[in-house]
Symmetry: C2
Subunit: 167 residues, 2 copies
DNA sequence: CGTTGGTATGTTATGTTATAACATGTAATG
DNA sequence: CATTACATGTTATAACATAACATACCAACG
């Protein structure tokens, strides 16, 4: 049996990801999707998505508005909320309820009921796919109920922050 | 094999419950808990809990404030938020994030990661215990993360409302 | 006693998040 | 060119939440 490097298979949730690639892929994906669905990826929509994918962390609507303002767009609240709503509808953005914030989807290709794992200390947020979370959604139905949307957020502390905590 | 009545085992999530009993039990439970923990179940705290358990549905903080006002208590926002925070800490109230609303816990005895099932049409909300939801939380840990709190909300449509929808 | 510390509540002001309602611009369709 | 659909702009306000400080009460201590 081959020796494994330490932590090689730890599948850390907050581990490094190649964000250069992530960013490019995301842009390509949204472009393709919009063409395929005959939707308009307008400068405003593109900009909002870029803002969110740029540092790939949750941003409040008003943070986004500020950045829109800096970039020369209008920055009144409905602008952000409308575009965010639209991007959410199409699965490219999620709302993190526990933070009143919005985050670019990590994998829009998956039709998913995403789980968000949120460290209360470093405030990192990871989107985990249904399979990976160990969290099994019931059948698409619980008895007598059709699930259309889920909010699943697990808040706690990541190992890095936990180790740093003084007890 | 014995014949079952129709729907006998349907375990409907929004089914009737004996709310007279539910109300009384809840009051008893909170009284016992507060005595045991040497906490003060003050008139204000009791009233807030009663308001929530009374119709057993989610109420916004400002709805609660109005009812406090009617009952002769102060009704400035911090009053409600403080008491709600306290009751939440002790597991007698939950916040329903998707509705910005608060609801009395259906079973404070269970140390639980509750799941809320929310009908978007009739706006009924059911609290489902971990076991019953068919939703399995991961081990207390996902890799390298310690879960302290969960927000699990399933929004959709209940069978009653679905049947009523015109297609 | 009178002080001190803990806990609960009251009050004012403000901060933060989100939407309603209506106006304007622009492009495709017939 | 009128009609429609859609995207964006603008103003105002609604809805949700907290900061900061003031007051009240009570129990324990010296
Ligand atoms: Zn990334
Ligand atoms: Zn996603
Ligand atoms: Zn009840
Ligand atoms: Zn509960």
């Amino acid at each position: 049996m081959k020796k494994k490097k330490k932590n090689e298979n730890s599948s850390k949730i907050f581990e490094y990801h190649d964000h250069g690639a992530c960013f490019g892929d995301a842009i390509t994906q949204i472009e393709d999707y919009f063409i395929q669905k005959k939707l308009q990826l307008t400068p405003l929509r593109r900009k909002v998505f870029e803002i969110l994918i740029e540092d790939h962390k949750p941003l409040g609507a008003y943070d986004i508005l500020d950045k829109l303002g800096e970039a020369g767009f209008s920055s009144s609240p409905p602008i952000a909320y409308r575009v965010l709503g639209f991007l959410i509808e199409h699965g490219f953005v999620h709302k993190v309820q526990g933070l009143n914030a919005f985050i670019a989807c990590s994998n829009p290709k998956h039709s998913h009921f995403p789980t968000f794992v949120i460290c209360r200390k470093c405030e990192k947020v990871a989107e985990v796919s249904e399979e990976k979370s160990g969290l099994n959604l019931p059948s698409p139905r619980i008895t007598n109920f059709k699930i259309e949307k889920t909010t699943i957020e697990l808040t706690g502390i990541c190992s890095t922050c936990e180790n740093a905590e003084i007890r």
